[in-house]
Symmetry: C2
Subunit: 233 residues, 2 copies
């Protein structure tokens, strides 16, 4: 009857709470061993193993064997994008505690999405790049302008070098908290790691949230006109 691919299969894979917890743990782009994923999802190694096999079978995860360890990671940025898109449909969390509310604010403010930045910070950076003429929006991707190439180069990102890579250079990714696009792709990834490298942002332990350092706050304001103080709303 149905002549086109079936979304029920993929949704079913994602829909199991345990598998969802695993996918969630991998959303930041890391590769984790099976035991770690079992621990994070609070199930036994056997159970985890079965789930991971299904996720690999369904092409949502990729696996890499290193000695007796098996490292699992998302099959690609496209998987992270679909998960973020799904989150868009999810009912907003009802806040129970002050602590939980704080964590939600953190994660809305700035977080990693696979290997790039999302949240207010991610969206704001992207918006600034477009209004300053560094990026131009095209179908399914951002084009990097000459001005942009110079700016990124000065910032310590060699656009030509990362252009070599197979993956797409600069693509938009839908942000579930801001409901706007932020920069993904190789350039998005490079930008995020450069910001970590410069110490403008640091990871919040055991969370996808990212904190902007004092140094980062100053530089973002001076160099890009992005005000980040008091934006934690």
């Amino acid at each position: 009857m149905n002549a086109y691919p079936d979304f029920a299969y993929v949704a079913g894979l994602i829909g199991d709470p345990t598998r969802a917890a695993m996918l969630d743990s991998l959303l930041d782009g890391r590769a984790l061993p099976a035991s770690e994923l079992a621990y994070l999802a609070r199930v036994s190694p056997q159970t985890a193993s079965a789930h991971l096999a299904k996720l690999v079978e369904g092409k949502l995860l990729a696996v890499e064997t290193h000695g007796r360890h098996r490292y699992y990671r998302l099959a690609g940025a496209h998987v992270a994008q679909v998960l973020e898109a799904l989150t868009t449909l999810a009912p907003p969390v009802q806040v129970r505690s002050l602590r939980q509310s704080d964590r939600l604010k953190e994660v809305r403010h700035a977080r990693t999405c696979y290997d790039h930045l999302a949240g207010q910070l991610g969206v704001e950076l992207t918006r600034t790049f477009v209004t300053r003429g560094f990026l131009r929006e095209a179908d399914r991707e951002y084009r990097i302008t000459e001005v942009g190439k110079r700016w990124f180069s000065d910032f310590g990102i060699d656009v030509e070098a990362i252009r070599q890579k197979r993956r797409s250079l600069a693509r938009p990714c839908l942000d579930w908290s801001e409901r706007r696009h932020h920069l993904a792709g190789a350039l998005g990834a490079a930008l995020a790691s450069r910001l970590f490298e410069l110490g403008w942002i640091v990871r919040v332990p055991s969370s996808r949230a990212v904190r902007i350092t004092e140094k980062g706050r100053e530089h973002l304001a001076h160099q890009l006109g992005i005000e980040t103080a008091g934006r934690l709303t």
Copy 2:
């Protein structure tokens, strides 16, 4: 622990084969009564009722009561978009029969996606509008240029009139078969219904596929330079 919305819940709703069949039946934007959905998903009315309640509870469907009938439809175009995005991750169907292969070609060639057009035709139309300067891509939406407004007006679509509507005017929607964006939003919907009205396209019975008529083929070629013959690949 998790401070952000959970995609497992939504994915779980979509992941059940029966519910997925119902969502699929509604992907063209129609509103169908519960009994019809039960028939299409091959379950009893009681079972269907339970599933529909869950889908409404999860804000994936909206329900409208007319007398003793209850009409269910997708809660909005955003739901259709997420379903299309999910389909992007789904494994390609393995073709068993010539008949199935033909249906797949049909649906790849041209189909409705909620209330607008998708497939090769949808993507090609959108591409043409952009290259001819009728639309310009911006963040999360297409901007309609002055030239575009005139062209759509000549084509029988009053852009100012549909701009009044609440829903977004012209937004991109990811196409699972072409893996590019096509035009969604109020303008996308208006375009589709105008093409039906003009008799350039007709629906294929019991399918989301759309067939381009001889008349449509000629006009698309002359007025927009879109060659549709022999593109059924």
